[in-house]
Symmetry: C2
Subunit: 176 residues, 2 copies
């Protein structure tokens, strides 16, 4: 699919509800599940998504839209806000609120094709367009939902007994 | 994780809400996304899940619980009900209703450890326990959610530009 803003926004605005439906009030064991010792648990992934709302997507889009002479993004700290002492329910509410605000900001910009072609400098990837940044925001959301559900599936790798062979997700090496 | 019925039921009962949050009223292009020519679209996966409610999980559990002399399951037709002329919204409502009924049935059985050890005959895998069947139901749910979101992510493989290298999900071969 080509990136079309009107198709991307509905995905971005659904993510908080998807995560709440999936994780809110589920037994604790699911929230602590990990694919491997270095992999993130579903609870940590929610923290990572909150951090993205604070520091990544909209702040980077602002740098691009400002079109100043210095358009280099701050590196995104993938490990910030992973851990928290707060209840998952509160973190889900925070994510919902932050995302709603960020989607409102995005809609408010009323971006046209020429805006989506504007560029910024990614610290690792070089020149990127606003269109690519926004497409990445969508991919980041849905691939973390995929990661959470894959992590949950793998918790039952032993429990399913002979059915393991019918699920490719249970046969691959653990990876993040 | 070991299979514990009280941990499994909350996942099973959340799946319809997760799918509705993710797919209801999203732009059509997402519903028709496929990882490859033979792969299922998100809309088809909902049809497949509806079929599972009709023919797979609870009917097989009944065969096990009945403990008749013939306990061989009907083969599960993975391709039944994939296609439909009905609106996705109606199919999501149907899945929600079927799942709610099936979870109520499961709860109503008030299964004990000794019940979970009872066995049936899978046409391809041989002897399986009720515990393994129910664990597989959970894995089937979450791995299809993972499949849907992975499929959506991959639609933007080109659109993210240089960010492709940060997402393993965008680098693997298409597979169902």
């Amino acid at each position: 699919m080509e990136f079309i803003l009107e198709e991307a926004i509905p995905v971005l605005e659904r993510t908080p509800a998807v995560l709440s439906a999936l994780l809110e009030d589920v037994p604790e064991a699911w929230l602590d599940a990990r694919e491997g010792p270095e992999a993130w648990s579903p609870g940590e992934i929610v923290g990572h998504l909150i951090n993205g709302e604070h520091t990544d997507w909209i702040p980077r889009a602002r740098i691009i839209l400002k079109q100043g002479s210095y358009r280099r993004f701050e590196p995104f700290d993938r490990f910030a806000e992973l851990k928290s002492d707060r209840e998952l329910r509160d973190r889900l509410r925070e994510f919902e609120k932050l995302r709603a605000g960020n989607v409102a900001t995005l809609r408010g910009w009323n971006l046209k094709d020429k805006d989506l072609d504007l560029t910024g400098e990614h610290p690792g990837l070089g020149t990127v367009t606003l269109r690519q940044l926004l497409a990445t925001w969508v991919v980041h959301d849905v691939s973390h939902i995929a990661q959470i559900t894959r992590t949950m599936a793998r918790e039952y790798t032993e429990a399913v007994g002979p059915w393991t062979e019918y699920f490719r997700v249970l046969q691959r090496e653990a990876r993040q």
